[in-house]
């Protein structure tokens, strides 16, 4: 292939072309479809513009703080509590979403019943609804005088204006992630695999726990990671239902906003940087579990 990159005319693409001609790097040989250079160029520029520059700006500001200032700001008890609440509730919500998301996906994939299409469409609603609306609606329901609140209040359960409320809101916004990642994989599972397990004497429970669920693990983890990440960053729905008591139900994103409103940019930056670091570490961890489990059974048709 003398001319593997058919597109080289665009200015933004020149750098790539030059680098290739310098030929210290070997790009993967593209397929018969041209446009590898162009599309990679666009992708990288886009990522830099949208993701990398803002994030590096954050890191840059944070590093301007100086180490001791930074440590002092992060170890502030209010900050620590906010981070704990943010990550704790997001984790809990993602776990609950994983369990019920898998069940919901199962029902949608495996059974036929009237209204199935409607339910299927409803799963996406949390994507579309403004999160503030969701937050207000949930608060109204779970407030001590709300429909659900007045039922569970006598039982000693308080949801609105407590961390439990945060979890409820995060479950709402994170639900579609698990369902939508697990669903297509579930559709791929051959009925024969279940039948094979049955012929070998496995009970229904053994079939599910030993055959079906392990096969869904990579997809489930992806959904979990997405729901978790979304939960950590969620702001709109939470602030209405959380009550926002410092040390008790104040989430980190809200604390950042509070600090900004106090013109305390340093503290806001520090919290943001810590959140970024923790999120990155957790996503990296989840991704490596995924890569490990996926390597074991590449799907072969």
């Amino acid at each position: 292939m003398a001319q593997p990159f058919a597109v080289a005319g665009l200015k933004g693409d020149r750098k790539l072309t030059e680098r290739r001609n310098g030929s210290r790097w070997r790009f993967r040989q593209p397929s018969v479809l041209p446009g590898f250079g162009l599309s990679l160029g666009i992708t990288l520029s886009w990522l830099v513009l949208i993701v990398l520059i803002p994030l590096s700006g954050l890191v840059f500001r944070a590093s301007g703080l100086g180490w001791s200032d930074f440590v002092a700001l992060t170890l502030d008890p209010r900050t620590l509590n906010a981070l704990k609440i943010s990550f704790g509730t997001a984790f809990l919500a993602a776990v609950i979403n994983l369990i019920f998301g898998v069940i919901l996906a199962w029902v949608l994939v495996r059974y036929r019943f009237p209204g199935k299409r409607v339910i299927d469409a409803m799963v996406d609603l949390p994507f579309a609804l403004p999160t503030a609306v969701a937050g207000i609606a949930l608060t109204t329901l779970y407030a001590p005088n709300g429909w659900i609140g007045q039922v569970i209040e006598p039982l000693g359960l308080k949801v609105a204006f407590t961390p439990a409320g945060i979890v409820v809101a995060l479950i709402f916004v994170g639900l579609p992630f698990v369902v939508r990642t697990v669903q297509p994989i579930m559709e791929e599972i051959d009925k024969e695999v279940e039948e094979a397990a049955a012929t070998l004497g496995a009970s229904r429970f053994q079939t599910i726990s030993r055959v079906l669920l392990p096969g869904l693990m990579p997809a489930g983890l992806t959904g979990f990671a997405l729901a978790f990440a979304r939960g950590v960053g969620e702001y709109g729905s939470v602030i209405f239902i959380a009550g926002n008591l410092p040390y008790v139900s104040e989430i980190a994103p809200l604390l950042i906003v509070i600090r900004l409103e106090e013109f305390n940019y340093a503290a806001a930056t520090a919290i943001a940087a810590v959140m970024l670091a923790i999120s990155f570490a957790m996503l990296l961890f989840i991704n490596s579990i995924q890569a490990w489990s996926r390597r074991r059974y590449v799907y072969v048709a």
């Binding site: 051959d190 094979a196 397990a197 070998l200 009970s203 074991r296 590449v298 072969v300």
Partner: protein, 375 residues
């Protein structure tokens, strides 16, 4: 273990997939269910397995009524066409699965499970691949894992659904021979489904030919090929020709002349003459024969296939000849006479005539009936 299928019916919705099927399978037999798609062969296999439940009828394993048992209780081994291996488990774990899921009191100790799985992998010639995942195996290897997995539970009966359907021709041939060896060594009662007659005839002790949800014929490969009992079996197994003829005073007439074949005991009337392309003799000077113009000529391995046009609306007839005898080119006239043939009457039209030959249900003679044969 003996398997007896008793008057089994299966309907999907209102569509009957199996209609009153009975079949006796002796212990240790290797049985092929052969038929075109939609003939009900896979349904029958799945009914024996317990993956479907019959609309009516019973299935016995030995003397026990198995129809009321669940799949899990029947203790069968089932090999699926697309293997259905568990892809998150190693080959060894796949094979050991059936033993590992047994309830505590019936489960062998872990070390023994492992040993049995390894032994089975040796039997299917996959030693050394025990730590691989299914995705890392070829199609033929996966099929062998599937077989080892099915045999691990010491099944009452081994059921294989189109076991070689997804493999290429070369691997298929090898596995076929190999399956026969395994069967001879382990002696499991085995039923396999196939639409490939070559596979069925080569591999099985007995072949069950099925069509439209009913059994057409059960017999050894020789019986099935040499003595087909119905036009369907004649047409489905091997090559065959079918000509509309007339019977007159015990002689068979084609169009307006006798062809030199006799069926003395038969009453007059129309019938269908079946014969195989290689069961013919060429005749010089036609005084009672079939004759046609050669319209096509193909060399297939050791023989030459000629297609003859017998005129009018008759379908073309195919005959096979040694190449040196077929030297004559296109559009020459060839005269021949079948040496082995069978005469069937179209049951629906000729129910009354056929009645003379048939002892059962004279009025409702739906199936075409064999009326004469020669070999």
């Amino acid at each position: 273990m003996d398997v007896r299928v008793h008057n089994i019916r299966k309907e999907f919705g209102r569509f009957p997939a199996l209609d009153d099927v009975s079949l006796d399978i002796r212990s240790g037999e290797l049985i092929a269910l052969l038929g075109p798609s939609g003939s009900g062969k896979t349904t029958l296999l799945r009914l024996v397995a317990g993956l479907e439940s019959p609309t009516g009828g019973t299935i016995f394993f030995g003397d026990e009524d198995a129809s009321q048992k669940t799949v899990q209780q029947r203790n069968i081994g089932f090999v699926f066409q697309h293997y259905a291996l568990f892809r998150h488990m190693t080959v060894l774990d796949n094979v050991a699965f059936g033993l590992k899921v047994r309830p505590g009191h019936r489960r062998p100790p872990a070390a023994e499970i492992r040993k049995r799985a390894l032994d089975l992998l040796e039997l299917v010639q996959l030693s050394g691949l025990d730590k691989r995942y299914p995705a890392q195996l070829s199609g033929g290897q996966r099929q062998r894992v599937a077989l080892a997995r099915a045999m691990a539970v010491e099944p009452n009966v081994l059921l294989l659904d189109e076991p070689f359907g997804a493999l290429d021709a070369q691997v298929r041939k090898e596995l076929r021979k190999w399956l026969r060896e395994i069967h001879d060594r382990t002696g499991h009662t085995t039923i396999f489904v196939t639409h490939d007659q070559e596979e069925a005839l080569e591999l099985a002790d007995r072949v069950v030919v099925m069509s439209k949800g009913a059994i057409e014929q059960v017999g050894t490969p020789d019986e099935i090929y040499d003595h087909p009992v119905s036009p369907f079996v004649y047409g489905f197994i091997g090559q065959s020709n079918c000509l509309a003829v007339t019977l007159q005073n015990g002689e068979i007439w084609f169009e307006d002349r006798p062809i030199g074949l006799r069926a003395p005991a038969e009453p007059d009337g129309p019938a269908n003459l079946h014969f195989r392309p290689h069961d013919i003799e060429l005749i010089d000077g036609c005084g009672g024969c079939l004759a046609g113009l050669v319209t096509a000529s193909r060399r297939v391995a050791g023989t030459r296939h000629l297609e003859l046009d017998l005129g009018r609306t008759h379908p073309p007839v195919e005959i096979e000849l040694p190449p040196e005898r077929a030297a004559a080119g296109d559009h020459s006239r060839i005269a021949f006479r079948p040496t082995k043939w069978k005469l069937f009457r179209d049951g629906e039209r000729q129910a009354v005539v056929a009645e003379a030959k048939s002892e059962s249900s004279p009025i409702e003679m739906q199936e075409p009936t064999l009326v004469a044969q020669a070999s």
